[in-house]
Each structure stands twice: as C-alpha cells, then as structure tokens.
Assembly symmetry: D2
Homo-oligomer: 150 residues x 4
C-alpha cells in the first residue's frame, strides 16, 4: 500500500507544505528522546493544517457530519532521535490521489542543521461521516493535493 | 525493512503475548474514533510489558544507562475504527531477531467479537544508553523473542 | 469550591477505591519526572473505573446520550516527583455528593514505600448528554459515592 | 496555596502574555469536549513559551542541568466546554513571585466571542536540576514575572 520509497521522501521537492514547530517538553519519553508515536501526531497536525489551508476545515466537515479522513495505513522511518528543544519543520512532500483514497508523504527535518530525522507516509480514506462509508475526496482537496508532487 | 506481511499478522499464532486493555475516554479524536497514533502507543505499552515479562525491565535499563530500544521503523494498518468502550487485546504475534535489531509484529482485536481491527510492525534498534550506539540485544530478550513465531 | 483539605486527602480512609498502575514510559517530560497533567489523567482513569465498578459504564452513557460528567474544577498538589518505573496506587478516598454535582478526593501513593506523592480533588457536574444541561446524579452512582467517606 | 481568586483571573489585565492556539483534533474526549487535563497542557505550553520569551529557555536549563520548575500545585476552573475547531487565547494574566516559588494565573478565552472558558493557577518551585533541591528563581525570570500584575 505505501506509494513512496524512503529515499524519495528524504528529498525536499520544489513545492511542499511546511509547518515549523518545537518538540514539546511532554513529547519525550523516559529515554529522553521523542516518543515515536508523537511523530505521527506531527503528521496529523500538519495534515489537518493543510486541509484548512486548502479551504476544507476538518473541524467544520466533522461537525456538519460531511466527511472525515481516517487512516488505513501509517508508517514512519526514524533516522535520528529528536530531543526536547529541537525546532523542526514537518513537510508534506508528496501526495498520491485516488478516487476515495489519498497517500501523503512526510519529511521531518531539524531546523538547526537541516538534517532529516524522520520520513513517513499516511494513507487516508475519505468517508461520509454519517455512516463511515467511502466517499470521493472533496474537490477542493483533490486539487490541493494534486498540486503537490506525486 | 518490514519483515511481515499484513495477512500473516492478521493470524493469531499458537503462541503469542497478549495484553488486554480498554480504549480510554481520551484515546479518541473529534471524529469519535481512536486517534491513530494511539494504536502505536498500545504497541509500545505491550512491547514494554513483554520486556518486563521476560525479565528485562526497561525502567531499570534506562535508569542504569544500560540499553534502550528506540524505533527505526513503525507501521500500522487500520481495518476497522476502534471506539471508546471497546475492550481490545493487543498481541505480540511475531518476532524477527537480528544481532542488534528486532522486528515485532502486532495484532489488535476487539474482545467482544474477535474482529481484527489493526495490525502493525515495529523495528527496534538496541542501543547503549550512554552513547546511543548500537549494541547486541540482551541475552534474556534474545531468548524471549526467539520463543515467538518468526 | 474545593471540599477537602490537603491533610485529609493524605490520609487513607478504611474504605476507598484503589487502582494500581505503572507510570508509563511516555508519561514523563524532558525533566525526567511525570508531566503534571498526567496525574489528572490518572484521576480521570480511576474515576471512570469507579463508575464502571458501580454499574454505570461511562462508555454506554455517552454513546446512548444519557449523561456525562464534565469537570467544573480540578486541582492537584504534588509532594514528590514520580518517575518512570514507579508503580503507584491511585485511590478515590473522599466523595461529597450533591444534587447534580460531585466532588471526589484523590490520593496517589508509591507502592514501593507507601509515600504519598500527590493528592487532588475534582468537581464533576452531571449533564444530560443531549443538551449539556445539568441533571441529577444517576441513582446507582449516588449510592456508590455515598459509600465513600465524605 | 492558591494566590488568586477566580473572579480576578477572569479579568484580562492591561498587560499579559498571550498565546493563541487551536484546540486540536486529538484534544477532545469521547464526550466531544476538550479532555480536562489538556487545559493544563495549554498552561504548561504557555508557561514554557513565556520562559523562552523572557530569555530563559527551559530546554537549555534542563539540558545543562541548571534549573527546572516542577509543579507543587495546579488547579483549573472550567466554565464552558471547549470543542475541536475552537481557536483560543491562553493568557498568563497574574504572577506572584517569591524566593524559590512562583504562582502563575491563567485565563483561557475563545477567540470567536471572547468568552472566558477556563481559568487556573499553577505553583512552580524552582529546583537545581542536579539534585532537585529548591533554588532561587533565576534573575531574568524574576524580572519577567514581576512585570506581570501580582
């Protein structure tokens, strides 16, 4: 099901959607590095930010029971540990758009030195929020994701 | 890097390590289903439980700066949404053991009807906690993971 | 609004509802001690466990849109830091029951040495889940909380 | 131990430190409103932001084992439920500075209508990170917190 290979995701394409953020005090675990599921939260936060940026606020869609985009698959590769105090950029670097399904490629880099610390991809299925059945990707999102490299 | 295919992970082998738990009130998101990174937290909790069950408490290893087992890769496939109130079993169903690296296969099923809701796999690298360099898997863990189907 | 003083909460009364649990790997922060809002999650988990123990599953009440018990007030006092690897008992030690409102007193102690590390209290308002308006505490819960020292 | 009354905290003083943020998709619980310990995470995030804003990065202090500011007490009053999609401002509205201890007053308001949804206060003890013993509040922070209304 994954659409992108790790080496492709490590590259930053000319166009991408980037969110900068800090690793939070509470994002680490007892080994002193970012607890690995937190990186998937970073992906989720950036995904939702891109929906909003594209004119499709998830909060409205969910409240009005129009559509949602639950996950069918998620994966991440971790190259370097992230630590509290690191500032990172989370970039949505790739998108593969199908009728009801969307695969998104992610790249996380440390701002201080540009080192890529993780990559990943998430496969979202668009569903009608009334019955959780598959539905076509809303048009404004289809266009927004087509604008990213496939 | 993944070692197991999704169909293998869906099967429950004769021997596995199982933790039962409830989906918590705070594990869901605004769409009313389990927020997908929480499933990776379930994997992590069960992994650490198995370490302890095998005589290698992670808390001691980390405090004494002996070893840790950070992630190199993690992935999950989601078949059915989990909801608040679901009781689930998180099973460690497969393990592939190398010198310093361990791949663990996961299977999550709803207790009420036995339906498999998610599977996944995590690749852990054992490191010396003093310098985060690779180290061999501790012997007691090597044996414990060899006891699971490969 | 708080009903209990800190010294009262430090004492373990003859009857209380106790949940034992481990501080999780991901419950700490970058200073290496339990991130303070996690203690309120421990209160919440134990509160919900007591509802279920008393025959009133919150999951059913919420799903059937009968009642909920959102917070009006929460507080905690922290005496000793908790660390990863600590096993703790979270005890519901006091309850003050009113028509629509319930104040619950909490006591967290380390299992290894019995030291009280935190106490707290939470004020819950019972509401009809259809409109979030106040409603009387369900009878089975009224009885269950009256059974605890006031 | 609390220094501020609820009515004082509801008022926005002429000078305060404000962080705007969105309620996140994963901040709600199965009742569809913000899970109450998340509000204390909002306080923590804003507290750490103010430390950085005042020239005292917590990440550096913790990494260099200089000082930390663990909690002795935390409390919150909840007036209105927050929901996913709400944009809020978290304001540090009051500070009471002692030798080693700091009480901070919080006010959370919805940006759309200005309604105050929660207030709270947190009591931080400054400690030497090498031994967790009390130490004086660093000078730059003493000044920064004195600049806020007491």
């Amino acid at each position: 099901m994954p659409k992108f290979d790790v080496e492709t995701l490590r590259q930053k394409p000319p166009s991408s959607f980037v969110v900068e953020r800090d690793v939070r005090f509470q994002d680490v675990d007892a080994a002193g590095i970012v607890f690995y599921p937190r990186v998937l939260e970073y992906f989720s936060d950036a995904f939702i930010a891109y929906l909003g940026h594209s004119g499709a606020r998830l909060a409205d869609a969910v409240r009005e029971k129009r559509w949602g985009a639950p996950l069918r698959h998620a994966e991440a590769d971790y190259f370097k540990p992230l630590r509290y105090g690191d500032r990172i950029e989370v970039a949505l670097v790739r998108a593969h758009v199908e009728e009801c399904e969307l695969t998104v490629g992610w790249r996380v880099a440390r701002c201080s030195d540009g080192i890529v610390t993780c990559v990943g991809q998430t496969v979202h299925v668009f569903v009608d929020m009334r019955d959780f059945r598959r539905c076509p990707i809303p048009d404004e999102l289809r266009q927004a994701f087509h604008a990213l490299p496939g």
